[in-house]
């Protein structure tokens, strides 16, 4: 698992993946009538 010299691809992929996962969370919670952030 050599990732030497690949910090930029790692950082880019992290930003993209985190963004996509948060968007997925928001969509799936919204489909259940809820929001991603909890409201009383």
């Amino acid at each position: 698992m050599d990732i030497k010299g690949s910090f930029i691809p790692f950082l880019g992929a992290m930003v993209v993946c985190c963004g996509l996962f948060l968007a997925l969370d928001a969509v799936l919670m919204n489909m259940q009538g809820l929001s991603l952030v909890f409201h009383q």
Binding site: A13, L24, L34
Partner: protein, 621 residues
């Protein structure tokens, strides 16, 4: 001595008379239609009016024949030779289910392996598929024998329940029997015709038989599932248990499909683990390097099948439990928060054992490749994560303590470990275990390959990012929604958790396929180069699966508590109580030992069927 057997009562005789009357009426109508086809228009109208009247009368007659669910007393349950009827039915049902799961699952992956063999034209796959089905043939006979034992014990010990169920499911029980003939016929042609139906068109005929075998086998399972889910979530009957006559409503009850999905996936995982144990047994008894290599390869494939089905299995189980809650909150709370909750702690231990043994087998299997050294350094970290997740999974919410311990702790709830006892912590742990098992498998597949693409380091970095972001998201959903929101959010957050896990697994497999496109191999895999202790991991996998299925079978059946059919037909037998956890665990364990003894017999039969003795001088020349 049999006591309390039901005599034919007035309603039974009336029911029989009505049936005979309707049958004669139907014959008369058919006879009339055949004999007098040339009648006039007025005759047609009169006949239509008459038929409509008869239909209404038949409907009324049909409705009138269905009696409410019987209200029983202890005297209605025959006692035979002082035998505990519940334990007899319990053990017969469990043994039947274990074998049924095995013989229904084997044709599923045999079909897939046969397709792979046809696609690759590699005869090893065909030979392995044949050997798998050979093991299941003896199991098939035992399934039928145990099914007969279960049916007889239900009729003998619970006659009124069986009568009530067979009234509602009369059609499906009849079709079940017919399908059993079809299953036997197709299976025997499929197995005994294996070497006859080879090559070209004949091979396609054989593959079609395999598909038919799976269609019939799965239909059998769906029908049997309808009967037992009706007992948990009855449909097609009114509050008194009077059958509406709609058989489909009774079959398609609330819990039918959740059970169908869970059992279908679990059967494949279980079948894989049993043939894995067979391969391990053959590996340990093999006396040539060629045989060891063959059975090592077979064991690897069996473990692969078991892991593929094991990974989605917790999600199917979660869906089933959620549907049980949705159907009856009382049943759901009994299941996960009442007397049965401790059995789920034992379940967590057993499932943890499954994951650890499957991973251990993969790690040992990396020794088949000379290139595995690049990845073995990561195994210890995967093991640490798996064990940590395993510990979280089986941490109970409240502890069983002595009075002194309770005083010292200030109650049964541990302030540090207690929060790990709720479902969001378990969900998070399960998802992480599944991800790290997928990671183990990814390392196994990479062990013998050298990537040749120029962007291999960037590809690896993206893989690391995908796993890191996925795990971070699972932890966010588990911790934030699990501890800082209400129950609705907690349950809802489990869905994005599951999808995150699936996306990471599918994404990493896809990415790997691009990274290793045109990759070179370190060298040929050395099949058979695996420590013998890895074979015991395969045995552990099969035993843990068996024990686990026995435990969960008891839980599924036991949450009906004092009902034969929940809220419809009360269990008035002397055994209508929930036994202690120790007693239930002992019955399940005895049944598991009986099953293992039978499985050893099946393996032994498969072994001796290939042996020949040359009796020199016995037969005349």
């Amino acid at each position: 001595m049999i006591t309390g057997m039901k005599k034919p009562c007035l309603s039974d005789i009336r029911f029989l008379k009505t049936k005979v009357f309707l049958a004669l009426l139907a014959l008369a109508v058919i006879f009339g239609a055949i004999t007098f086809p040339g009648f006039d228009q007025a005759g047609v109208m009169a006949a239509e009016q008459g038929a409509a009247d008869q239909e209404v009368a038949a409907d009324a007659a049909a409705t009138a024949t269905y009696a409410p669910a019987p209200k029983l007393t202890a005297a209605d349950y025959p006692s035979i030779a002082g035998i505990n009827s519940r334990v007899v039915v319990w053990i017969f049902a469990q043994l039947h289910l274990w074998f049924a799961a095995f013989v229904l699952a084997v044709p599923i992956f045999v079909f897939i392996i046969e397709v792979i063999g046809m696609k690759t034209r590699d005869k090893r796959y065909d030979d392995m598929a044949y050997e798998f089905i050979k093991v299941s043939i003896t199991g098939y006979s035992l399934t039928a024998i145990l099914g007969g034992g279960l049916a007889f014990s239900l009729i003998l010990f619970y006659p009124h329940l069986f009568t009530y169920l067979s009234t509602i499911f009369s059609e499906s029980m009849f079709y079940y029997a017919l399908l059993f003939f079809a299953e036997s016929a197709v299976l025997y042609i499929y197995y005994y015709g294996w070497h006859w139906l080879q090559g070209g068109f004949k091979k396609w005929v054989h593959l079609s038989l395999g598909l038919t075998l799976n269609a019939v086998g799965t239909t059998l399972m769906l029908l049997a599932n309808a009967w037992l889910t009706f007992m948990m979530s009855p449909a097609g009957v009114d509050a008194a248990g009077v059958f509406s006559g709609d058989a489909w409503a009774a079959i398609h009850n609330f819990l039918w499909n959740p059970i169908n999905i869970h059992r279908f996936v679990a059967n494949i995982a279980y079948g894989g683990s049993i043939v894995g144990a067979y391969a391990a047994f053959k590996f340990l008894t093999a006396n040539t390097p060629q045989l060891r290599a063959h059975y090592d390869w077979m064991g690897y494939n069996a473990n692969f099948i078991a892991i593929c089905a094991l990974l989605p299995l917790p999600f199917a189980g979660y869906y089933l439990a959620a549907e049980i809650y949705a159907y009856s909150q009382q049943m759901g709370i009994t299941l996960m928060g009442g007397i049965f909750a401790w059995l789920f702690i034992i379940q967590a231990v057993l499932i943890g054992t499954l994951f650890l043994s499957a991973n251990y087998y993969l790690w040992c299997g990396m020794g088949r490749s000379d290139g595995a050294g690049r990845y073995t350094k990561y195994i210890k970290y995967i093991a640490i994560v798996l064990v940590a997740a395993f510990l979280v999974w089986f941490t109970p919410h409240t502890l069983v303590l002595t009075n002194e311990e309770l005083k010292a702790l200030g109650g049964p709830h541990h302030k540090i470990l207690g929060p790990l006892g709720i479902m969001p912590a378990k969900n998070t742990a399960v998802n992480i275990m599944i991800l790290f098992t997928a990671l183990s498998f990814m390392f196994y597949r990479r062990a013998n390959k050298v990537a040749t693409v120029s962007w291999v380091n960037a590809g690896n970095a993206i893989q690391v990012a995908l796993f890191t972001a996925g795990i971070a998201n699972i932890l966010l959903l588990g911790i934030y929604h699990g501890y800082f929101t209400n129950t609705v959010y907690k349950v809802a957050a489990s869905i994005p958790q599951v999808l995150t896990t699936l996306i990471v697994i599918v994404g990493s497999i896809t990415l790997d396929s691009f990274i290793y496109k045109g990759a070179t191999e370190v060298g040929p895999l050395k099949w058979g180069r695996i420590p013998e202790r890895a074979q015991y991991a395969l045995f552990l996998l099969a035993v843990s699966f068996t024990w686990l299925m026995g435990l969960m079978g008891y839980i599924r059946s036991g949450i009906r508590q004092h009902w034969h059919v929940v809220d419809i037909m009360r269990d008035a037998s002397p055994d209508a109580f929930t036994p202690t956890l120790g007693y239930a665990a002992n019955v399940v364990s005895v049944a598991a030992i009986l099953f293992m003894a039978m499985v050893m017999f099946v393996f032994w039969i498969a072994q001796v069927s290939g042996q020949k003795t040359l009796p020199t001088g016995y037969w005349k020349e």
